[in-house]
Amino acid sequence: MDTREKDIENLKDYKYGFSTDIENIRAPKGLNEDVIKFISNIKKEPKWMLEFRLKAYERFKLLKEPDWQKPKFPKIDYQDLYYYSAPKSMKDKPKSLDELDPKLLETYKKLGIPLQEQARLNGIAVDAVFDSVSVATTFKGELTKHGIIFCSMSEAIQKHPDLVKKYLGTVIPTTDHFFATLNSAVFTDGSFVYIPEGVRCPMELSTYFRINASETGQFERTLIIADKGSYVSYLEGCTAPMRDENQLHAANVELIALDDAEIKYSTVQNWYPGDENGKGGIYNFVTKRGLCKGKNSKISWTQVETGSAITWKYPSCILRGDNSIGEFYSIAITNNHQKADTGTKMIHLGKNTKSKIISKGISAGFSDMTYRGLVDINSKAKNSSNYTQCDSLLMGNRCGAHTVPYIKNKNFDSNIAHEATTSKISEEQLHYCQQRGLNAEEAVGLIVNGFCKEVLQQLPMEFAVEAQKLVGISLEGSVG
């Protein structure tokens, strides 16, 4: 058995499906003001933060769950969830990794994310989020030298309140849509990144999200600020144990790029997708939005979405600064009973703004995949341009692939081009590959990887390898 086959053998079942038996502290079940106060209190938050949460909660009470999306799901009982869950040993945050609960360390080791710095050879700083709290952040010393702040959100609220206060909620306000507002009220932890003026972040920053406890929603909040002329590449990975119930994950991610800054945000999302019959799995309802605030700024989203029972998210760019650039590269794969409704929004407000959307959707089994995107060129966005390409690949006739682009052009100087195709893997291509000695499954793998190549190229090295494997694994058993 060669290594590739071994990899596949290992990964055939959802290998991240184990759960860690660890003592938890939870907030009382349900959602009300007291729970929000509990969360705020346990995190020793300042008063303004509690006010921020309560304001969002007031607003949340007025909102109704949206229902325009393609994948329908049974009504979520928001009172039947735990909004805070943390390993007990985290109550007094350990000062260094040596004090960290060995069980946690072991969990991350199993996930392939060793937190001990000496074990890291490839130089990626990791912030690990376990259920509701950030458990460890690595490479802090190295980053501090450059003046980079990379820590958990809770820590940032304590140590850098000015920055948090200035930027939190500026891209996703507390008055946003249902899930974003819910997150603003109850978010527990997440990552905070600040790159000072003119600094090029020397290593990849990464957050690893893990849902462990059952009946728990995970609501994390990430805020990345790239000051003038800086650059940062940020990676995000996610897994969860196999459970029969559906779990809610409603995160908010805000990116802010000032003049000449660039943020590259990559996600490999591999939440538990549910079993073959569509039982269980994560509801991944995430709000991700980037603001190109300054001139010549750039935000680039890359996502590989293979997990989750339902993925419902639209990483967006608001191109406010003149000459700013927004990019979106996406591979979404659904198999079995998974459903996805994903895409992007490019909102052009500044002059000479450019955006590019490359979206590849692959559906197999009984799954349903929707690309939904908005390109909106405002009347002031002179000389802007957009290029969109969304391709879908269908495997079998029990799955669906849909494309719903919204295109609004209010500016006569601007150009929008949109292309979409839907097809299946052609018999000729398969035949050719098989003739050269590949078996059917390998041939499909090869063709699919080729189909996704434009997006995979955008991922940082380490992720690209992982993503390529994931693409192969997610489609296991869908051929023939």
């Binding site: 325009w68 009347s379 879908s392 269908l394 495997m395 079998g396 006739n397 029990r398 799955c399 669906g400 692939a401 849909h402 494309t403 719903v404 682009p405 919204y406 295109i407 609004k408 052009n409 209010k410 500016n411 006569f412 100087d413 601007s414 150009n415 929008i416 081009a417 949109h418 292309e419 979409a420 195709t421 839907t422 097809s423 299946k424």
Partner: protein, 415 residues
């Protein structure tokens, strides 16, 4: 509005003698319309152009009652010249003339009391309104193996007698096996602030061919909505051409069900808008069985303060393998204040299909203008030449050469 509409409904009912059953159906639809009102932007299909708002802002005192007792004289000078044709003439929503003088009388039948069949999938409140208020309703049947010799032109005229009125029309067509029909809808009037609501239903049997041309050319200050429902059986072909240019507001909706194998649907459209006009085309093509084909091409040229929207949806059922679906929309924005919105949608449940769509919008290419100017044209001429070439592409898709020439002449395009 609901008080007014009820009074108008009573008046309309008094004028005609509907049977008990008809009256009940009408009341049902009236209540449905009152419940939802004119469609507004909260509805997905109306999010780009809000009819409710347009009517509220432009027609202060819309009346739904239409006196059908007075005959109107036909102004023969406004009929189309240079093309022999059969005609149906509507004036102010009243049928004044039905003339099939070029055809074999035994091969075409016209019914005027048909049971209301309203099981459209894409129903909306305007269809309810139509059902509640339309007066008479004709069905035209083209018999087996008969191809209509001359095109049928349906004139939609109005004279100064009407103002701030809502007119509701309905026609049904059935094309029997191996028959064909060429149909031109010609809108021409100088009235203002009327809202016309037209519903057509086409039933295409096997091997039949329908060619429908909607020509809204002469400029007027009216508001129109047109809904075509097309049911297609095996090997039938439908071709729809829309020239959307004259009215202040015009929304064309086409719902086409490809129910038989090897049936195909073509939709081609032109928006050519000036001075604050708002037009929209929305198509839904449902591929329900194997080996069906659809093709759509929409081109727009948008002037000052105009807004055009194209919403095209291709639905492919899981049974509809080997579907071929294509959609393309292109727009030229001529002014800072023009706006183009598109929502080309694919909904696909079968794997062995070929579906694609494209959409592009932008301004005229300055390089092309420069090239033409270097050959001696002035700026205006160069611009016109480019626009004409852009639009000609759609007109060339028309498969009937006589009608193609007629339309070319109408919009001043020469070979």
């Amino acid at each position: 509005m609901s008080e007014k509409i009820k009074i108008d409904f009573e008046k309309t009912v008094k004028m005609s003698n509907f049977s008990e059953k008809e009256l009940n159906t009408k009341k049902f639809h009236l209540n449905k319309f009152i419940e939802s009102g004119f469609p507004n932007r909260k509805l997905e299909n109306w999010k780009f152009i809000d009819l409710s708002k347009i009517i509220r802002e432009n027609i202060e005192d819309l009346s739904f009652y239409n006196d059908q007792s007075i005959t109107n004289s036909i102004d023969t000078s406004s009929l189309i010249d240079g093309l022999e044709h059969n005609k149906i003439i509507f004036i102010n929503g009243r049928i004044e003339k039905i003339d099939f003088s070029y055809e074999d009388k035994n091969q075409i039948e016209i019914y005027d009391d048909v049971l209301i069949n309203d099981s459209f999938e894409n129903s909306n409140s305007l269809i309810n309104l139509n059902n509640a208020f339309r007066n008479k309703y004709y069905k035209i049947l083209v018999k087996k193996n008969y191809s209509i010799k001359k095109p049928l032109i349906i004139y939609h005229f109005a004279n100064e007698k009407i103002n701030s009125k809502n007119i509701n029309l309905r026609l049904d067509f059935e094309l029997e096996q191996n028959s064909s029909l060429k149909l031109i809808d010609y809108f021409s009037d100088k009235t203002v602030k009327n809202f016309t609501n037209i519903v057509y239903n086409f039933d295409l049997k096997t091997y039949s061919i329908l060619k429908n041309f909607k020509i809204d050319k002469s400029s007027n200050k009216n508001f129109r909505y047109s809904f075509n429902n097309i049911e297609q059986e095996k090997n039938s072909i439908s071709e729809t051409f829309i020239l959307s240019s004259g009215s202040n507001y015009f929304k064309n909706e086409i719902n086409c069900n490809l129910k038989g194998e090897y049936s195909s649907a073509f939709v081609n459209g032109i928006f050519s808008l000036r001075d604050g006009q708002q037009h929209e085309i929305r198509t839904t093509i449902n591929h329900l069985v194997e080996n069906t084909k659809s093709y759509q091409l929409i081109k727009s040229v948008l002037g000052k303060n105009t807004k055009a929207a194209y919403q095209g949806r291709i639905y492919v059922d899981s049974k509809a393998q080997k579907t071929d679906g294509y959609q393309l929309s292109k727009a030229i924005l001529l002014d800072e204040s023009s706006e183009f919105n598109a929502k080309p949608e694919l909904e696909i449940y079968a794997d062995d299909v070929k579906c694609s769509h494209g959409s592009a919008s932008g301004s005229l290419n300055e390089n092309s203008i420069f090239y033409l100017m270097s050959r001696g044209l002035n700026y205006k001429q160069a611009k016109e030449l480019l626009i004409n070439g852009f639009l000609l592409d759609v007109i060339e898709k028309i498969t009937d050469s006589e009608i193609k020439n007629l339309i070319k002449n109408m919009i001043g395009l020469k070979e």
